[in-house]
């Protein structure tokens, strides 16, 4: 199948998937008890029945759910994700404002996890019974088993109480005033703990996977041939073996992207990172349906695109896939 045709087909499937996600989310969210009028009543210390009715009418909550869904889908098709009940501003504005923080966090964690994880995996694969290999195995098991919010809380305690060297909330200091370069440093300083927390989970998986893949590949005939030709060990490991072991790592990177985003949502809540996760979490509690639906829509879109890019990257990494195995 030609690459372009393949992309179009995948985009079509992706579109159907995203539509399904939107409809499912819509019904799930509307099945929750209570609505925004009650939340606003709570925030305001009580309001009149008339005001509650006005709020419900203002947000269309007095209409049947199926009508609300129709109106919502109509809006989405026009690129309008509605207006946040809580912030009284367009959801797309809020998402664009918060998406950068989430993407920064997710990509930073992904890079840390892949670079450190694969490096550890490759190094430990060279001596499968060695100390480093044992360490990687233990670290991987613990890192994978520990819930991400627990890891985050432990890091908060460690770096706020025991060794207070990293900020534990927010993306930029409240008092920050300075140049763009200072701003980058300030954000990087705030990014260390949340990105590390998220990376630990995935780092463990990459380390385990790359270790297993490398052990298998290092025993292959062509690696033995490369060594017999007198190539250096580093060249054999990183050029010949790693290149052939990288496919399962790429597969996992793509599949895990959805998990990475959902992990980011949890980490944002722990570290008060001002991204979409924090926004989604607060929106659930506030019954801010348009915002929550918007975040879920955006997240599903990102996951679909990430999976598509992963599939395309296979085709680049392994010509057999591109040629249909001929």
């Amino acid at each position: 199948m030609g690459t372009m045709r393949y992309i179009i087909q995948r985009l079509f499937y992706g579109l159907i998937l995203v539509c399904g996600v939107v409809i499912l989310n819509f019904f799930l969210i509307h099945a929750a008890p209570g609505d925004v009028a009650e939340v606003i009543a709570g925030e305001m210390g009580g309001i009149t029945e008339e005001m509650m009715a006005e709020i419900r009418a203002q947000y269309g909550l007095d209409k049947p759910v199926i009508v609300q869904l129709g109106l919502y889908l109509g809006q989405v098709l026009q690129g309008n994700l509605g207006v946040s009940y809580h912030f009284d501003r367009p959801v797309t504005d809020l998402i664009w404002q918060k998406a950068g923080a989430t993407i920064l966090l997710a990509l930073s964690a992904q890079v840390i996890a892949m670079v450190v994880g694969v490096t550890l995996g490759v190094l430990s694969s060279r001596k499968p019974q060695g100390i480093l290999s044992g360490f990687v195995s233990v670290f991987s098991t613990v890192g994978y088993a520990a819930p991400v919010f627990w890891t985050g809380l432990m890091l908060v305690i460690l770096f706020s109480v025991v060794i207070p060297i990293f900020p534990v909330e927010g993306m930029v200091s409240a008092r920050f005033r300075g140049s763009s370069f200072d701003y980058i440093l300030n954000v990087a300083h705030h990014l260390v703990l949340p990105a590390s927390t998220l990376a630990i989970l995935f780092l463990a998986q990459y380390a385990r996977l790359s270790r297993a893949a490398m052990i298998e590949v290092l025993g292959a005939d062509y690696v033995r041939t490369a060594r017999a030709k007198g190539l250096g060990e580093w060249r054999v490991t990183f050029h010949h073996a790693l290149r052939n072991a990288v496919l399962p790592i790429l597969t996992i990177a793509g599949i895990q992207f959805g998990n990475l985003i959902s992990g980011a949502l949890l980490v944002e809540t722990v570290f008060n990172w001002p991204g979409m996760g924090r926004l989604a979490f607060d929106s659930v509690l506030r019954r801010d349906f348009p915002t929550l639906l918007g975040v879920l829509f955006f997240a599903s879109l990102v996951v679909v695109i990430a999976n598509l890019l992963t599939d395309l990257s296979y085709r680049l990494a392994d010509p057999r896939i591109r040629t249909g195995g001929r």
Partner: protein, 526 residues
């Protein structure tokens, strides 16, 4: 109560300084103040949105006609003088003549009239300006508020976040004020103007140079920093990332009390008057029997709740009006722990013990997200009420709307609840006890309580301008509800301000942070 560890002399000096509401050093200009909060405001216009989260930035952006100090005494603000008519049916406000909004437009009496009528039409506290018929504007700096009946709560309703003066030239454009775009980019006449707003993250306010009080505000900047939860508030204060914040749980209060350079005090919440109580649905069996409600009160050890569960940080509350209010009755009937009396009342009410020792089963609602911080009172009551043969089943709602739905629809027997007085009983107390306010919305008379004499007393107290006569009416009201217990008051919520010691004139009036910070300053460089 000051929690900070310090020398005896230092503690005494601080108590004296706080009690007289003055700073110990000359005011200095400059610096910024970071307030940390776990609450996210919907927007910044308190004219159409109540609640602490909106009130704190809102009172920096918008000035009000009057302000109030820590002794409940009123002071001029936008109104330099005020005068009641002899019949108590009109109040004349004389406005300062040099006040301007942040866009340079002068503040006039028509802005005052527009604001009061907007608040009356849109604010959830309908009783605040309920009796206001109109606001006359004989000249640009005189506003006459005309009333249908005397309204003793009016002066307090003109203070702080209850009466922000909003610009008519912006909000009077025909759009609904409740969701007006200017609510997210407000123009007021307060001491600070909006510099940056990142929803859910931070509000940065900068000094308004043309503020109508010379030399004020002292601070260059006020930052409202929004963090995720109470633990993050505590961490921010402890680390010095924030200068002032509000904490309400025993562990945070105790922890911050031990931090050098921080003062932790319960002062500054007299206005909102937050009361925690057990609400009884008086329309359903067996809660419709006053003896059952009294038996539960006698079986509840409030000393244990205050000292063990809440670790001594909360104060007792025995009446519907917050104990720090001059209208609170100090001689309320009380219900000390007395299991024999509780058992006798339950026997008398026709609820004998069954073979397993149980008289009946009650369902108790818990306020989501609050109980861990406030001592898990429902868990305690479950074991304690078993002592008198009442089996309590807890119903924990996952979130606020679910819990609020149960109470509003009357689908409950007993629930923990937290309700604010909001300064004057007319605003925050009447709503719980008036039979005319039995409605399907949260924090109305969801208990379904009806007593004709109570209705009569509250109606009279809501019209009485004489303070002593009013106090007497409220005293009788408090005695009646103290006997009939539509709710059982446990404690004042342990809200505490925690702030940097170097802060001069900290915001500790009855409205705390919900009033202009123009008088706050740093005594030394931060």
């Amino acid at each position: 109560m000051l929690m900070k560890r310090r020398t005896l002399f230092g503690a005494i000096a601080s108590v004296v300084a706080l009690s007289v509401g003055i700073a110990t050093a000359e005011p200095r200009s400059g610096g910024e103040l970071v307030f940390v909060s776990g609450e996210t405001p919907r927007h910044m216009n308190p004219a159409v949105q109540s609640g602490v989260a909106t009130a704190i930035p809102g009172t920096q952006l918008f000035a009000s006609p009057l302000r109030v100090d820590e002794n409940w005494d009123l002071h001029p603000y936008l109104a330099e003088a005020w005068e009641w008519s002899d019949d108590g049916l009109s109040l004349t406000l004389n406005l300062v003549d040099n006040a301007v909004f942040h866009d340079g437009v002068p503040v006039t009496s028509s802005d005052v009239a527009f604001s009061i009528m907007t608040i009356k039409a849109n604010h959830p506290f309908q009783t605040m300006f309920g009796p206001v018929e109109a606001v006359d504007t004989p000249d640009a700096h005189t506003a006459v508020i005309r009333l249908s009946q005397p309204h003793p709560a009016l002066l307090l309703a003109l203070t702080g976040a209850l009466c922000p003066i909003i610009p008519e030239h912006i909000y009077g454009d025909g759009q609904a004020v409740r969701d007006h775009p200017a609510n997210n980019a407000p123009i007021g006449s307060g001491p600070f103007q909006l510099a940056e707003y990142r929803p859910g993250e931070q509000i940065t306010l900068e000094r308004f140079d043309d503020f109508f009080i010379d030399g004020r505000p002292y601070l260059d900047r006020v930052i409202y920093r929004i963090v995720g939860d109470a633990a993050s508030v505590t961490l921010s204060l402890e680390s010095g990332d924030a200068d002032i914040g509000i904490v309400a749980d025993a562990s945070s209060i105790t922890r911050l009390g031990g931090v050098d350079g921080l003062t932790v005090t319960p002062q500054g919440f007299e206005g909102i008057g937050p009361i925690q109580w057990i609400a009884f649905n008086t329309r359903v069996e067996p809660m419709n029997d006053v003896r059952v409600r009294q038996a539960i009160a006698y079986a509840t050890d409030t000393d244990f709740i205050l000292n063990a569960l809440m670790r001594g940080v909360a104060s007792a509350q025995t009446s519907p009006i917050i104990a720090s209010s001059p209208l609170s009755d100090p001689n309320m009937v009380t219900y000390p722990l007395d299991l024999d009396r509780a058992n006798a009342l339950l026997d008398e009410a026709g609820h004998p013990r069954g073979d397993d020792g149980t008289r009946f089963t009650l369902t108790m609602e818990t306020v989501p997200g609050r109980d861990a911080a406030l001592g898990n009172i429902p868990e305690y009551l479950r074991s304690q009420l078993r002592e008198v043969g009442i089996n309590v089943e807890l119903r924990a709602s996952p979130d606020f709307p679910t819990w609020a739905g149960h109470l509003a629809s009357g689908d409950f027997q007993m629930s923990m609840d937290i309700v604010f007085n909001w300064g004057d009983p007319v605003i925050g107390v009447h709503r719980t006890y008036l039979s005319s306010n039995i409605r399907e919305v949260i924090w109305s008379n969801t208990q379904g309580y009806e007593n004709e004499r109570v209705d009569e007393l509250l109606d009279m107290a809501g019209r009485e301008l004489d303070t002593d006569a009013r106090a007497s009416l409220y005293q009788e009201f408090q005695q009646i509800v103290g006997e009939e217990l539509p709710v059982y008051w446990i404690n004042a919520l342990p809200y505490h301000h925690a702030f940097d010691d170097r802060l001069g004139n900290p915001p500790l009036t009855i409205w705390g942070m919900m009033q202009s910070l123009d008088q706050v300053y740093w005594t030394e460089d931060r």
